[in-house]
């Protein structure tokens, strides 16, 4: 099976405390730690496991700048066979539809049976997979937490509310977005990264892809982020301060009053 996995380089929520810049309209990006979007790791792992089982190739693709190449290499160190970097100044400021438009152009240059994305990324919209499927007129399933490959189709489980799982049969080719927990993504060590350090990763821009530059990027975006801010949420928690002993004494009194002890 030929599988394409769309990945993204994002600020790592586990490694950063997010603060606004001095102007108060953007994140302070100077010291941010970036990594591959957590959901994408599960998608790549799932793709590798499918190919290990039934054969084929895994290609990872991302839309980004030069620095996004490192996430492609990381996923190739996991076991993806090929990487493709879609990069162009004209892509900057794209909304979800813009990203899907760029990816669609690349998908049409290959012949993929299965296209995967993470269920969501840093912006939390969870939109690119569903848009890409609709643009390609392919069937789509989101929040997939189980895949059983079959002949010309796959069986997928979707995570739905309450811990339940919705089972579907979906014809190939198709697009699925992968939920965390579907597998246990393998560890990538320094040695694995070194192995793929010199592998050529092709770069493609708007003209290579035949993408109309005015349909993507800032120019083509219908939905645009204006600023970042920290909302005033009123009181919030009563913060207990002092030494650990003092905090524990105060907390125990409160827990007694509220039925916790």
């Amino acid at each position: 099976m030929e599988i394409l996995v769309c990945v993204k380089r994002v600020p790592d929520t586990a490694e950063n405390e997010f603060e606004l810049n001095s102007a108060g309209n953007d994140l302070d990006r100077d010291d941010l730690v970036y990594s591959v979007n957590e959901w994408d790791n599960y998608a790549v792992e799932e793709a590798i496991q499918i190919v290990d089982k039934i054969g084929g190739n895994v290609t990872v693709v991302t839309v980004g700048d030069d620095e996004s190449e490192e996430v492609l290499r990381r996923e190739m160190a996991m076991g993806a066979n090929n990487g493709i970097l879609l990069t162009d100044d004209a892509f900057e400021g794209s909304d979800g539809k813009g990203i899907a438009t760029i990816l669609k152009a690349e998908v049409e240059k290959g012949k993929y049976d299965l296209i995967m994305t993470g269920a969501q990324a840093d912006e939390g919209a969870g939109q690119v997979g569903g848009m890409l499927a609709a643009m390609l007129d392919l069937p789509y399933a989101s929040l997939v937490n189980k895949i059983e490959p079959g002949e010309g189709k796959i069986k997928v489980g979707r995570e739905i509310e309450g811990g339940n799982q919705e089972m579907n049969e979906i014809e190939l080719p198709c697009v699925v977005s992968i939920q965390t927990g579907i597998n246990e993504p393998r560890y990538v060590g320094i040695r694995g990264i070194r192995k793929v350090a010199s592998v050529e990763i092709p770069e493609k821009g708007a003209s290579d892809l035949g993408v109309d530059a005015s349909a993507v990027g800032e120019a083509g975006a219908k939905t645009k982020r204006v600023d970042y801010f920290v909302p005033d949420l009123g009181d919030g928690a009563e913060m207990l301060e002092g030494s650990t002993d003092e905090i524990i004494t105060a907390l125990i009194e409160k827990l007694k009053a509220k039925g916790g002890l």
Binding site: M131, R158, E159, E161, E166, V226, F229, V230, L240
Partner: protein, 322 residues
């Protein structure tokens, strides 16, 4: 005039809570807009929901087709594209169904898309200003979306105040004949119910709930010792289940269990909306997190900025000495 259509999700003949939240969102978009409920499904359950919606909405569109006996988003999307005007503003919930439906719907309707909206500032010209969150709720953003050719907007369930139903006196219009071809390349098979675990966290008055801050699987014992001291049960947030350190039945959140304890000890949990969505009944929430900016501190009653791996043993010891 702005025309807003609210997609009403339902199960077993009852609309989801978001059905009462759309009118508040629609009013914030444009107080003068016409608001129409759209109910898609089949049979008696569909009729029951459509009729119930006439108490809340003046206009209710019903789309009845056996293909939608289960809400397969691929099929519902086709029906909505056929029935709704191209420049409609469509509201859907940002939940597991809305995430399946809405992005593709925006492409097929050739309209703008804005996801997981938590608040709405209003329309200026053809631009609608909205508020959403990024990075797991760590920061909020204002976004503008160009609604001149229509828009699909998913709202976060629970983010908008529910309205009191009962007086709209609406009527149902049957648009089933307009639904068109509802064939799909994705077939719904069945819903597999969640497995029942070793412990029922929904029955416990006190939960010691752990998140990423627990760092290592072996550290779960530290939380269990605290839970034992408090006669509580250990529950967790999603990353702990993803790592396979605890069973899925221990997970609190929209994709896990809904709990109603008296006291909720959030230990090293950042507090995503999906997690908070599983905590009901307004419990006393104690949050301990080493990150002072963790979103959990916005909703907790008591907050403590400490490393849980040091704090929990100290608290356990103090409780055992009482």
């Amino acid at each position: 005039m702005t025309q807003i259509y609210a997609y009403i999700p339902f199960a077993n003949g009852t609309a989801e809570d978001v059905a009462l939240e759309y009118p508040s969102a629609a009013k914030k978009i444009d107080a003068g807009a016409t608001l129409t409920a759209v109910v898609a499904g089949t049979g008696a359950d569909l009729d029951k929901v459509a009729n119930a919606m006439t108490a809340v909405y003046k206009e209710v569109i019903k789309i009845d087709n056996a293909a939608m006996a289960y809400p397969n988003a691929e099929i519902v999307r086709k029906a909505l594209v056929s029935v709704l005007p191209a420049d409609a503003i469509v509201l859907a919930p940002h939940n597991t169904f809305g995430m399946d439906l809405a992005p593709g719907l925006s492409i097929k309707m050739n309209s703008a898309y804005a996801a997981d909206i938590v608040d709405i500032e209003g329309i200026e010209g053809s631009s609608l200003k909205l508020i959403r969150q990024e990075l797991g709720g760590a920061v909020s953003t204002h976004v503008t979306t160009d609604i001149s050719a229509g828009a699909v907007i998913t709202i976060r369930p629970g983010a908008f105040a529910p309205v009191e139903g009962g007086s709209a006196g609406g009527s149902v219009t049957d648009k089933s004949a307009d639904a068109g071809d509802l064939s799909a390349k994705r077939k719904f098979l069945e819903v597999v119910e969640a497995e029942v675990g070793d412990v029922d966290i929904t029955k416990s008055d006190v939960l010691v709930s752990i998140g990423r801050g627990i760092e290592e699987e072996e550290n779960i014992a530290i939380a269990q010792e605290l839970a034992d001291a408090m006669k509580a049960v250990v529950s967790c947030s999603r990353p702990i289940v993803d790592a396979k350190w605890l069973e899925k039945s221990r997970q609190v959140g929209t994709s896990g269990q809904t709990v109603k304890p008296k006291v909720y000890m959030a230990m090293g949990i950042s507090g995503s909306f999906q997690h908070l969505g599983g905590i009901k009944g307004n419990p006393f929430i104690v949050a301990v997190n080493k990150n002072p900016k963790a979103p959990i501190f916005q909703v907790a009653d008591v907050g403590i900025v400490e490393n849980i791996l040091e704090f929990m043993p100290a608290l356990t010891e103090a409780i055992n000495e009482l």
